[in-house]
Amino acid sequence: MRKLLAAFCLFLSPLLISAQEQPAPANETIDVEVTDSQIYNMSIDLKIKEGDIEKEILNGPVQHLAVSGKPVTLKISGSNFKAAVRFTLYQQAEDTLLLLTQSTIFMLKEGKKQMLSAVKSMPIKTGEKVLFFPLGVFPKAETTGYNCMLEMDVSKYQPRPVSQE
């Protein structure tokens, strides 16, 4: 019986060792106190442009809470491209923010795969609408093909909804 148990433990030991060797989860919980003034409400809407014509893809903008310094990631999947866009807001003053955008685009162009990445930043104020074109902007003359546009509105976080009476 003891030999059988010893053999069983020997069988289990590699599994236990391999389980112990697995890396610890990267997202460990860290308690960080975030004040309401560091939280912003991001309203993001994706629109498709064909020339000057804008089409809304969704019924309405997506609402997302953003913390100063913490990126908000968007993934856009189109027929011939995929894009990962990260918006990061940095609080600078009472109403002034620095908006940082990082975009990584994978695109099929003339049968070839392309990866394009870029970083843009701009100071904004809360309540200002901002547009982001991950694929760039068409020259005015060109009308063929589609382009996508992210329309974003940043406002201060309201912890308690104001009654609309």
Binding site: L4, F8, P71, K75, S77, I105, L116, S121
Partner: protein, 182 residues
């Protein structure tokens, strides 16, 4: 008439019945020849007892011990079985627990292995076959940045997106005014 040597020997060993012993005793007491025979029998008996080995009992004990040792060794040989030929006895609950534990560990290992190797990813549109790089990098973003990414899936009916150039970040006011749509 003297009794023969066998009767005298039996008399000497006190093996005769009472009636015979009395007759022989009466004769021996009165017969010098028989007394001489009795004396010879006494000498023979003394010689026999004198020649008996003093350690006979010890020899018997030693011999018996040797025999017992041999028997023990033979029994040990008979009971000693090779490790791989031994038969183990295990109770049913213990065996069931071992089997259950084995199955649980095996299942956990297999599930963990497959969960680690095959991460689910959003299906790419059929026209865009870039699973080798784009999916990997986009999924890596989940680990590096916010895992709760907002996803926009553009319908396949809208195709032919064009890369017009460098990404543009602009305030709406400025963009509309530049395009004469303010």
């Amino acid at each position: 008439m003297c009794p023969d040597v066998e009767i005298l020997s039996s008399f000497y060993d006190d093996e005769l019945e009472d009636s015979q012993r009395q007759i022989v005793k009466t004769h021996v007491d009165s017969c010098p020849h028989c007394q001489k025979k009795m004396a010879e029998l006494g000498l023979i008996s003394a010689a026999i007892h004198a020649e008996e080995e003093p350690d006979f009992q010890m020899a018997k004990v030693n011999t018996w011990n040797n025999i017992m040792d041999i028997i023990d060794r033979e029994e040990q040989k008979a009971t000693k079985v090779n490790f791989w030929q031994r038969r183990f006895q295990i109770s049913f609950p213990a065996a069931a627990a071992l089997v259950a534990a084995f199955i649980a560990v095996l299942s956990f290992s297999v599930i963990t292995f497959y969960m680690g190797k095959h991460t689910t990813s959003s299906p790419a549109s059929p026209e865009l076959n870039m699973t080798d790089a784009s999916d990997t990098l986009l999924n890596d973003d989940d680990n590096i940045f916010d895992s709760s990414a907002i996803e926009f899936d553009i319908p396949a009916t809208i195709s032919n997106f064009v890369h017009a150039g460098e990404p543009l970040l602009i305030k709406e006011v400025d963009f509309r005014s530049n395009n004469g749509k303010k």
